[in-house]
Amino acid sequence: MARTTRRRLLQVSGTGAIAAGTGGLAGILASGRAPAFAQGTSLHWLRWNDFVPAGDEHLRKVALPAAEKALGIKIILESIGGNDLAPRTTAAIQSKAGADIIMGFNSTCQLYSESLADVSDVCEPIGSSQGGFYDAIKANNFDGTKWLAVPHMFGPGMNVYRKSWFDEVGVTSFPDTWDEYRAAGKKLKAKGHPIGQTLGHTFGDAPGFAYAYMWSWGGKEVEPDGKTVAINSKETLESVKFMTAFWKEALDEGGLAWDDSSNNRAFLSGTIASTLNGASIYIEGRRKPAQYQTEDGKAMADDMRHAPNPKGPAGRVHFHGTQSNMLMGYSKNQKAAKDFLRWVHTPENYGPWFRVEKGFASGPTKSWENDPMWKDDPVMLPFKDTAATARATGYAGRPTQKAAEVLNKYIVVDMYAKAVQGMPAEDCVKWAEAELKKVYSV
């Protein structure tokens, strides 16, 4: 085994440092050599269990070995349930030990802002070279002065629906407004195929549905000043009243107890006709056509379509969950972690993973709208540019720590859940207003 002398080590380190300092990944690649890190440098990357398992498989088998080769560091990928990320992050921050990079949902990085490394030098070049970040994902990860986390993807929610069942009730294209959706859902429920949506305590689908629905009616959490609670409005009240009837007439009432995977199972088992979800239902149906079939034995995926949210009085709005990678402040591998995050987001490395996700993940920057992947399957086309319609929590203010607190307390979700359980709409809105005031007044 060749010995590495002190002089040689300094030379290589110098090259790596200069490369990283001057040209980031481009410099590293130009130097033709992996940057030098202390022997045995390893990065621990904590992520969720991807709803598209092929994505995790790609990371483990293709992307990470390639990154290790390019960067000269060992990368350990650990994946856990999405609902378990918060406790792991909290424990890591409090003990100042744990994964170097931790995935965060939506605006959770705002909760941990004091404990995260500034990743502006990673994000800015990515944004400027890739058409710019979408507003919602920037809002979630930028605190006004610096980037708290590197935006990784949107997990856009679209309404996946059974075309043939909608046709059967005389609805040949997906309803354009909430009124039309309610009318269609009423007919579908009468035929035993209700719409399915969760209003439970679960991180993705519940806020994804409830927030977007409220916004589309003109409801908002706070005024643009980010302090004055504004949820108790005529618009929110109308949305709650509508939801009560909509739920009873058109939705699967079991949805109050669903988690993020429940609607996937309900749809694929032929129980519900439509649900707001990421593309995972369609991707799974396409992956296993023999397992998921229609009543007449055809591949269910062939009967699936995607459509954006119906319009409310204030237009068509989406929540679209986002994911980012937080570089933890306690990490002793800051440089290696930043080099890795830069490596991940180069088009040649992000692209293959993005294509494996088949549209479940939308890119954080606008250039990914032009990726040839979108030409592969017309059913996935509605996901292509939907990120532009996304809004971040805390609207009409910014997705601050307070907004993240409201999100994690499920206050907006529970406002609707209480209504469908029978609480008068006015009381539900007042309850939500009181809870919001407690959060925003401190």
Binding site: G200, S269, K418, Q421
Partner: protein, 314 residues
């Protein structure tokens, strides 16, 4: 070995392989007792006292995740007291503990009586009864979650095919049913603890007392009322004490089954403290919610211990 021990006793005390001469520090009973107690004291201090006092300190500050807080007095307690979800959690926890404890006590006593009889395969049945208590709570609760699943509930399937229901029962989506569901799972899980502990208590009661009473003409209920119950009472109280403490601080079961939903209908102290402290990063408020259990639990424990002492000294 015997002679070596004899020598040791005569000449000194062996402690961690060293022989201490007579008159050494461990010859003094007070020091010896302290030495024997110290491992336990250290463990209790590290894992019970330190977190407890740390929790008290946290609850009096405005600490957030990653941000050391400043002393804010009782502000967190004031905030949680005015929090409607917290009040709901208080009511839920008290009601949950009361109902499950009563049901577990009655069923546990009944099961213990049955298990105390002689029948074929007695040992095997006793072992099986313990199963719900042995299986990790998270695993068994996941199984229950599937059974209560709004779409794929096996309970609904059975009731439907038995012709008892025509539409699905929304086990975890309806607030009352969801609350009943967590009670059922808690009873299922906690019942073996009662049954086996009370069985142990029953076996300490001399059969001669029962026989004598039977000869005197006492029927089954009278024998239970006047012999079994009074003699079993100290054990029952201790078992109930442990159960109340465990149930009051229950977390895993509710977290897995409902996550505190629907709309906070099943939140308990622990799940709500977790949501605030861990989910939202407000560690000090989470600590205040957790500590709010303490006075209630303390009162219950003190009352029960006083009663146990009274029963034992009768």
């Amino acid at each position: 070995m015997a002679s070596a021990r004899g020598t040791t006793i005569q000449d000194g005390v062996t402690f961690f392989g060293r022989v201490h001469k007579k008159g050494g520090i461990l010859e003094d009973e007070r020091w010896f007792a302290a030495a024997l107690l110290s491992p336990t004291a250290v463990l209790l201090g590290l894992f019970i006292a330190y977190p407890f006092f740390e929790g008290i300190w946290l609850s009096l500050t405005n600490t957030r995740v990653g941000v050391p807080g400043e002393f804010v007095g009782l502000r967190n307690f004031e905030k949680v007291w005015n929090d409607s979800i917290f009040r709901e959690a208080v009511w839920n926890t008290c009601w949950y503990t009361f109902v499950t404890t009563v049901i577990k006590l009655i069923l546990g006593l009944w099961l213990a009586q049955l298990l105390n009889r002689n029948f074929k395969g007695k040992a095997l049945v006793r072992a099986f009864v313990l199963l719900p208590f042995i299986i990790p709570t998270v695993l068994s609760t996941f199984a229950w979650k599937w059974m209560f699943d709004p779409t794929f509930s096996v309970l609904n399937w059975m009731l439907f095919h038995a012709g008892i229901i025509t539409t699905r029962i929304n086990w975890l989506g309806d607030p009352d049913l969801a609350f009943s569901a967590i009670i059922v799972v808690n009873v299922w899980r906690g019942l073996p603890f009662y049954a086996i502990s009370l069985l142990a208590g029953l076996q300490t009661i001399s059969p001669e007392l029962q026989e004598a009473a039977a000869i005197d003409g006492a029927n089954g209920w009278q024998r239970f009322r006047h012999i079994t119950w009074p003699l079993l009472l100290p054990v029952t109280l201790v078992v109930t004490l442990f159960s109340v403490i465990q149930t009051f601080a229950d977390f895993q079961l509710v977290y897995v089954l409902t996550g505190g939903g629907p709309a906070n209908a099943t939140h308990l102290f622990a799940t709500y403290a977790y949501q605030i402290g861990i989910g939202t990063g407000l560690l000090s408020e989470g600590a205040a919610i957790s500590l709010a259990i303490f006075p209630v639990l303390m009162a219950v424990v003190v009352l029960q211990l006083m009663y146990i002492r009274r029963v034992e000294t009768r």
